[in-house]
Structures are given as structure tokens and as C-alpha cells.
């Protein structure tokens, strides 16, 4: 048999083949690196570091020149007993059901007058809210109890995770036992240390706040319009003047754990971020006292003497979104805040404008997904006015009524999860944010909103409702570590699979 001619591979051919192989390896490696980038814990903003590098956005280029709010009328302080939904709900609940040592004092047939002020006057003006509040007390809460008897097992791990965070609320820090003029000065250094400049003081406070666990920090002069009208903590119930030493407000923000946040309203919780921001604020208030200045921490879940969101806007942490939450460049709406009031002289920050207003006008995803229809679908927030300021308003009562029907840890937070800004800090979402920020035409926003609505599945507003209308869906499935069936040998009714036994 004749020898077959030997085929020689030249160096040139080697290079050609090597290039193809190299390209294949490179493309494969890019895919591998990309999967890693999606999973990487460095993208879990606020959970990866306490060194302050969580606040990476250059705010200086986006400072507002005008006021952050449009004043549209006479302003006033918020009512703690009526406008603060938890305050109102608690009062009505006590009147209807009483407590251990206090019998019920009212039933709807008695008429509003017997309910007493301030609720009677408030409901007289807002009969629609009375109807909604009564629906919660008389229909939704009992219904929820029935659902709990069926489905609580499926959410038990999520509730355990949540309660683990919540435990701190009951122990630390203790409630103020005296008015601000006393308790804010408790443990204070006798002679206040004088900072080299207000800039030095602000820089120090921010660094320390980050080290105490705050992912975001900003400082503003406190606008008295954000302070509740009555019942300051530690003092006798009744109206109070805003204490003169509440000159500055240091705003802190901490994110929810990202994976469970996306599983709202089913498996997510508020309490992780509540607890972390609470502890950071409590520590910071002690730190300030040790410098010789009075301080008071206003913290989640309910230890507030003021409303927080407008302070976040004033302090340049972010802008208010359609869903009422403040949206930040780093964490989107995925964070919970606390505030420390003090008179330590500090350089203040300014509000920022990084395009949220225009984005929210276009996006509306939160409104479309909201199971209770509490978020406005309006084109702009024109005509929405609260206590003399124009800003996005949500229907707090229908929102709170949905909480009563939700099955996982207390609350909903779906609008946080669906907000396109509430995404981890990997290169994909960083690129999207950057495009949105630098595109004056709005085309990038349109394109990304379209992509979000077209390519990313969302269960739809009804699916979050209880059975039979919905299935207690989450925006995303529970992370593996919160899925009870993944860890324990238990039999549970999983309503998300249509298991409605």
C-alpha cells in the first residue's frame, strides 16, 4: 500500500487554529465570569462591606440648585394620631377590640361622636378611610387568621428569619424615658468637643456611621415640618414644640438582603434592614453624646418623632419615587432608614437629582404590580399635595389593608422589589443606571422599562392576593435558603403551587 502523503500543519495554520480556539475559550470564559458576576456577593450592596464604599455614587455632579420640594400651600406638621397609618390603626383597633385590661369602647353602630377625637373628626372628613379601616378590622384580619391556619407552615422559615432580626427591637436601645430636653442629654460629655470645622464634623460622623453599619449617610438641617405634632417619645402625651437642639438630621440607610427582598411580599421581611439601621442610629446617637452634643435616634420599626422620607431627600440620599419610597443611586428603593437629630455643627448635604422624577413618570411598574392598587398610575405627581408639599402620594390605607392579607413576614414591600432601581450592584445594572443617568433624551429609560416589562416575568397584581383570587405569589421565588421544604422534612400547603387544601 502506498504511503499516504503526510499532512503538515504550518505555523501559519497553527496560529489560525489557535486564534479560533482562543476565541472559543475567551467567549466561554466571559460567560463563566458573567455568571459569577451575577452571583457574586460583592454585588449585594450594603451586605458586603462596612467600610463606606457602599456609597460610591458621585453626588457632587447631581446636586440640585433649587428646593427639593414644591411648596403648593400652607405647610404643617404631620398628625401622629390620624395621618400616621399605624397610629390611627392602633387607636381604632383598641376602640373596637380593647386590650387585656381595657374593654372595647366603640362599635360602628355607636356613631362617630362616641369614638372621640381625634379619630371622630378625621373620619368625619374621610369616610372612605373609615370604611377601609373597618374592612381591615372586621373582614380582612379574621380572613387572614383562617389563611394562617392553612398556610403558615409554608412561610414559617421566612417568619423565623424575620423574627430573628426583630428581637433587637424589644431590647435595644431602650425607649426614651424622659422628654428630649432630658433624655437627649443623658450620658453626654460635659464640655462639648469643638470640631475643626463643620466639614470635619460631617466627615467624621459619616465615617463612623458607615462603620456602625450604615450603607448610606447624609446630613440635612431639620425642617420642622417633618416632625410629628404630638406625643414626643419620653414626654407626656400632647402637642410639643420641636426641640431647638434638633437642628440637624443625620439620615442613615441600610438595604434589605437582596434575594429575599425580591421574593416580596411572600418571603421578604422589613426587619433585617430595620434592625440594622436601628442599631446603627442608636450607636451613632451615643457616639455624638460622647462628643458632648445632645442626640436622639429616630428608628424603625416605630420609634420615630418625625417622618423620614423627606429628610432622606433633604440629605441628598435619593429622590422620592412613584411608590413613595426614596430611590437612591446605590440601592434603589431597597433600603430602610433611621435619623439622628442633634445640634453638633456639621456641613450639610444638598438634595440630588439623578433623573428619578422623569423615570417614575414613565415607568409605572410598581403601580401595575401593586396588588392593592395603592400606587397612582397618573402621568405625573401634579395635583398631589400633602400638608402643603407636592409629592407622590400612595393610598396608605389600601396598602396597609393588603398587609393584613399577606401571609409571610409582616408587610408587603412589593413596590421595592419591582422598582427597576432596586437591583444589585453588578455591571449589568450599573450599566443600565449609568445609561439612564447620562441620556438626556429619555430613550434609554424607555428602552430599559420596555425590556423590564417584556423580558422579565412578573406574576401580575392578582397573583399576590390570597387564594382563590391569587396564590400568595412573590415577585420572585423564595431564595433556596428561605424555602422550608429545602431544609426540613415537613409537609406544608404551598399556595404558590396552587396547593389550596
Amino acid at each position: 500500500m502506498p504511503d499516504r502523503p503526510r499532512r503538515e500543519i504550518s505555523r501559519r495554520d497553527m496560529l489560525k487554529i489557535g486564534g479560533l480556539a482562543g476565541a472559543a475559550i475567551q467567549v466561554g470564559a466571559v460567560a463563566g465570569v458573567a455568571v459569577h458576576a451575577g452571583q457574586n456577593h460583592h454585588s449585594y450592596g450594603g451586605w458586603e462591606s462596612f467600610e463606606g464604599n457602599t456609597q460610591f455614587f458621585d453626588r457632587k455632579s447631581h446636586l440640585m440648585t433649587g428646593p427639593a420640594y414644591h411648596r403648593v400651600g400652607a405647610t404643617r406638621r404631620p398628625s401622629r394620631h390620624t395621618e400616621y397609618i399605624f397610629g390611627r390603626a392602633r387607636r381604632l383597633h383598641l376602640a373596637l377590640h380593647g386590650e387585656a385590661d381595657q374593654p372595647p369602647t366603640w362599635k360602628p353602630e355607636d356613631g362617630l361622636k362616641k369614638l372621640g377625637e381625634p379619630l371622630a373628626g378625621f373620619y368625619d372628613k374621610h369616610p372612605d378611610l373609615l370604611a377601609l379601616d373597618l374592612e381591615r378590622e372586621t373582614k380582612l384580619n379574621p380572613q387572614s387568621k383562617l389563611h394562617r391556619s392553612k398556610y403558615a407552615g409554608y412561610f414559617e422559615l421566612a417568619n423565623a428569619w424575620s423574627e430573628g432580626w426583630a428581637d433587637v427591637f424589644y431590647h435595644y436601645p431602650p425607649k426614651p424615658s424622659s422628654p428630649p430636653s432630658e433624655s437627649d442629654y443623658e450620658g453626654i460629655r460635659k464640655e462639648p468637643l469643638t470640631a475643626k470645622s463643620p466639614g470635619h464634623a460631617a466627615q467624621l460622623i459619616k465615617q463612623v456611621a458607615h462603620l456602625y453599619g450604615a450603607s448610606l449617610v447624609g446630613i440635612a438641617e431639620l425642617n420642622p415640618d417633618w416632625v410629628y405634632d404630638v406625643d414626643v417619645q419620653g414626654a407626656k402625651p400632647g402637642p410639643f414644640e420641636v426641640p431647638p437642639h434638633w437642628k440637624y438630621a443625620i439620615a442613615l440607610g441600610v438595604p434589605h438582603e437582596w434575594d429575599q427582598m425580591l421574593s416580596n411580599p411572600a418571603h421578604g421581611t422589613s426587619y433585617d434592614a430595620y434592625a440594622r439601621s436601628r442599631i446603627a442610629a442608636a450607636r451613632l446617637s451615643v457616639f455624638i453624646k460622647k462628643l458632648g452634643y445632645p442626640a436622639r435616634a429616630h428608628m424603625p420599626p416605630s420609634s420615630y418623632d418625625l417622618i423620614i422620607p423627606p429628610i432622606l431627600v433633604d440629605a441628598g440620599i435619593g429622590e422620592q419615587g412613584r411608590h413613595g419610597f426614596v430611590i437612591t443611586p446605590e440601592l434603589g428603593a431597597n433600603f430602610r432608614a433611621a435619623v439622628v437629630t442633634t445640634n453638633l455643627p456639621m456641613e450639610t448635604d444638598r438634595p440630588i437629582d439623578f433623573g428619578v422624577r422623569d423615570f417614575c413618570n414613565r415607568c409605572k411598574i410598581c403601580a401595575e404590580q401593586c396588588p392593592s392598587g395603592s400606587i397612582s398610575h397618573a402621568e405625573t405627581n401634579q395635583g398631589m399635595e400633602t400638608r402643603g408639599y407636592r409629592h407622590w402620594e400612595i393610598n396608605q390605607t389600601t396598602c396597609f389593608n393588603f398587609w393584613a392579607t399577606a401571609m409571610g413576614p409582616t408587610g408587603c414591600r412589593l413596590c421595592i422589589a419591582t422598582c427597576p432601581y432596586s437591583r444589585k450592584n453588578n455591571w449589568v445594572h450599573g450599566m443600565a443606571r449609568s445609561m439612564s443617568l447620562h441620556d438626556p433624551t429619555g430613550l434609554a429609560d424607555h428602552a430599559m422599562t420596555w425590556m423590564q416589562k417584556s423580558f422579565f416575568d412578573a406574576p401580575g397584581a392578582e397573583a399576590y392576593l390570597p387564594p382563590p383570587d391569587g396564590r400568595f405569589a412573590g415577585y420572585r421565588p423564595a431564595p433556596k435558603w428561605l424555602d422550608i421544604e429545602n431544609w426540613f422534612d415537613v409537609k406544608v400547603n404551598n399556595p404558590q403551587n396552587g396547593d389550596h387544601r
Binding site: 501559519r12 496560529l15 489560525k16 489557535g18 486564534g19 479560533l20 482562543g22 476565541a23 475559550i25 475567551q26 467567549v27 470564559a29 466571559v30 460567560a31 463563566g32 465570569v33 458573567a34 455568571v35 459569577h36 458576576a37 451575577g38 452571583q39 457574586n40 434575594d259 444589585k424 453588578n426 455591571w427 449589568v428 425590556m451 417584556s454 423580558f455 422579565f456 416575568d457 420572585r476
Partner: protein, 98 residues
């Protein structure tokens, strides 16, 4: 050197091999390359990597369905770009004698 640094070092070395190889391929196709043709080629190759990197990052985040849809969209764009760029790059080519 960390694992990440090694990966990027190897990627850089591979990029040089790929560029040298592309130069030889183009010669064999009889295509005379110039700066804008190289630019188009690099843009397309970059887009090809982007076509994989974006969906794979979403897979890493647990957004597999969105990743698949976006991947198909990007593949279509990559093919259209590839065909268009190739026509521009290969216009007026003279087959090589090699």
C-alpha cells in the same frame, strides 16, 4: 496573584493570539485590512462577548427566563451586525494565492 487576576491575564494573552490569528485569516481571505475594518471587527467581537455576558450575568442572578429572551434578541442583533460588517470588510477582496 488572585484567581480573578489570573483570569484577566489569560484573557489578555488570548486577545493577542486572537488578533494575530485574525490577521492571518484575513490575509488568507485576501482581505486588505485597515483601521476601520479592524474597528468593525473588534466592535463585533466585543458585541459577541456582550451577547453572552449579559444573559449569563442574569442567569447568575437567577433570572434565567429573562436571560434566554435577551440572549435570543442579542443573537439576532449579533448575526445582523456580523453579516453587515463582514460585507463591508470583505468588499473588493482578492482571493489569496496561498
Amino acid at each position: 496573584m488572585s484567581a480573578t487576576a489570573w483570569i484577566w491575564f489569560v484573557m489578555g494573552a488570548l486577545s493577542i493570539v486572537i488578533l494575530l490569528s485574525a490577521h492571518v485569516w484575513m490575509q488568507d481571505f485576501g482581505i486588505r485590512m485597515n483601521w476601520w475594518k479592524w474597528t468593525l471587527m473588534v466592535i463585533w467581537y466585543g458585541f459577541l462577548n456582550f451577547t453572552l455576558a449579559l444573559p449569563m450575568t442574569l442567569v447568575g442572578e437567577g433570572e434565567s427566563f429573562a436571560a434566554l429572551r435577551i440572549f435570543f434578541l442579542l443573537v439576532v442583533v449579533a448575526v445582523i451586525l456580523g453579516v453587515g460588517f463582514w460585507r463591508l470588510i470583505a468588499a473588493g477582496r482578492k482571493p489569496s494565492s496561498r
